[in-house]
Amino acid sequence: MTTLAEASGISAIRQSLAARRRRVTILLLAALLAAIAASLYLGDYPVAPDAIVRSLLSPLTGEINRGVDFIVLNVRLPRTTLAILTGVAFGLSGAIFQTLLRNPLASPDIIGISHGASAAAVICMLVFGITGLGVSMGALAGAMLTAFAIYALAWRGGVTPYRVVLVGIAIAAIMGAVISYLFTRARLQEAQEALAWLVGSLNAANLNDILPLAGALVVLVPATVYLVRSLDVLQLGDDAAIALGNRVEPTKLALIVVAVAHAAFATAAAGPVAFVAFVAGPIARALLAGAGGGFLQSALVGAIVMLGSDMVAQHALPATQLPVGVVTGIFGAGFLLWFLASANRQGRGG
């Protein structure tokens, strides 16, 4: 029996697919490490690489160098950490949604989840005058409620991908209208603050942003690892998944909850940073070129895109720090145009 598998090269094919996944993962890890190093090194205040390393190790070594420690540990490291964590969460959220709904457009920033979080956050800021952590909690609740509403409205004895996407796009439009309405009634100062949040930013990242997200990821990442195996068969369609012994509806619900939680906590921490969730999966899949897998790689791509965009946002214009959402927005829009053009060429039409 084994001889047939060996003779026919089945094991070899599977091993070569696994090898390609490994190569892509190593490449992405290397790129992420380079981005982390760059993000800790770049800045207005020059710090030598060896001083950065010493400062990073200072909690272990007890060595103190106040000025450098402040720059590295209190300014740059939190920002880098928050970029990685939000990137991972957005990347996983987008990849789960796109795979589950079998539609590359079905990322949380297109099917209304981010818009729900934004509307809730804007309501917190403009209607109730809440700031800080309260806004994040509001965004979290908004994302969850919106996802529940989409799921309920799309439900017809089960949820079909197409209905979720259409209902989601409608919800996104409604939430956009809510936000616009609130802006027309706001005072200028408040509106400016709310707008800054809406663009999504890692400026002034601190432990209050990082800890809730890190805590959530401690639960969500293992849950994701456990659940994505089901996507191997859910991708083939509901009937095929049932036929292969998957409990389809509970599994889909669990996947949606996890994907929404990823997007919700990331949005609460950094605002609805545009398009990171949308681009991570397709970039990872393009690199993998049919080698299977894709979730670990999407998480890494998300982190790299977030970190890279934030570096551009910080350093592209002299003396001005852009919000990271401006950069990801431009990058993501370009990617969307390229994606639609190439999908049309292949006759698939996204």
Binding site: G9, S11, L17, Q235, D239, I242, G245
Partner: protein
């Protein structure tokens, strides 16, 4: 007719008093059927007669509103769906292949019910995939992307995926639709091979003549009810065709297989027949 099969245990599949509905619309009413083990059963009927729906009911893809589906005498919906998936393989009507997936990977998905969180890929899985590819004559396609295959090749790959599941039962919903006639025959020859290898095969087909040729057991449906079942030579008559398809025809003997062959009459050619 077909003789004993080298299968150690023989599983059984039956439905009693099965009603199936989509929402409020009932599609199959009070249907009793027992699938003959070790044979190739073909379900036929006009469009929207409920033949695919019945197959989905038998395959537990659709839960009956009344009645039960019995796998080995136990209610199929009371069993764990994974346990069912080791006995009963299903190829649904339009499964979707993930973009740029490779044939070996897709066929490997058929091993899902045999794997778990702690039992990942093994040599046995590789062997099952290789056997499934060999049985469907798709071994040489193993490293090709599914996107690049022809319709007939793709259908054989999907059947290979269901075969990799290594189940006694194989249920297929219109596996020959959209295929050229040569590929249709190819797929049905393959299903016959699988039946002779010891599997019980149930297949929904559009083409009545191919159904008559390949079926050990034919099941004719009309408006959600079972109209006739049995060996094609015994049940397929001009009256049955008129009843099921509302069409006049002549039933002659297929010169190749000696099975019934349906020749439709239609409005324009009835006269010509007399003149000849």
């Amino acid at each position: 007719m077909t003789g004993a099969k080298p299968m150690t245990t023989r599983h059984t599949l039956a439905a009693t008093g099965m009603h199936l509905a989509y929402g409020a619309r009932e599609v199959v009413s009070n249907l009793d059927i027992a699938i003959p083990p070790g044979k190739l059963t073909v379900i036929v009927g006009a469009n929207a007669c409920g033949k695919s729906t019945m197959l989905r009911g038998l395959a537990r893809l659709l839960t009956p509103t009344h009645g039960t589906v019995l796998l080995d005498g136990k209610s199929i919906h009371a069993m764990s769906t994974r346990e069912v998936a080791t006995i009963l393989g299903v190829l649904p009507q339009s499964p979707t292949a993930p973009e740029s997936i490779v044939v070996a990977d897709l066929v490997g998905r058929g091993r899902y019910p045999h794997q778990g969180w702690f039992r990942r890929w093994t040599a046995e899985d590789d062997a099952a995939v290789a056997e499934a590819l060999a049985a469907t004559d798709t071994l040489e396609l193993a490293d090709r992307p599914v996107d690049e295959l022809s319709g007939g090749q793709r259908q054989r790959v999907w059947i290979a995926m269901a075969l990799a599941q290594k189940t006694d039962f194989l249920l297929l919903d219109e596996p020959t639709t959209f295929l050229d006639i040569n590929h249709q025959v190819e797929v049905l020859d393959l299903l016959t091979d699988l039946m002779r290898g010891g599997r019980t095969v149930v297949v929904v087909l559009h083409d009545l003549n191919l159904a008559c040729r390949y079926a050990d057991h034919i099941v004719a449906m009309k408006a959600g009810r079972l109209v006739a079942e049995g060996r094609p030579v015994e049940v397929v008559t001009e009256e049955l065709v008129r009843d099921v398809f509302s069409m006049d025809s002549r039933v002659v003997v297929d010169p190749v297989s000696q099975t019934p062959m349906i020749v439709p009459i239609g409005r324009h050619h009835a006269q010509a027949r007399v003149e000849v």
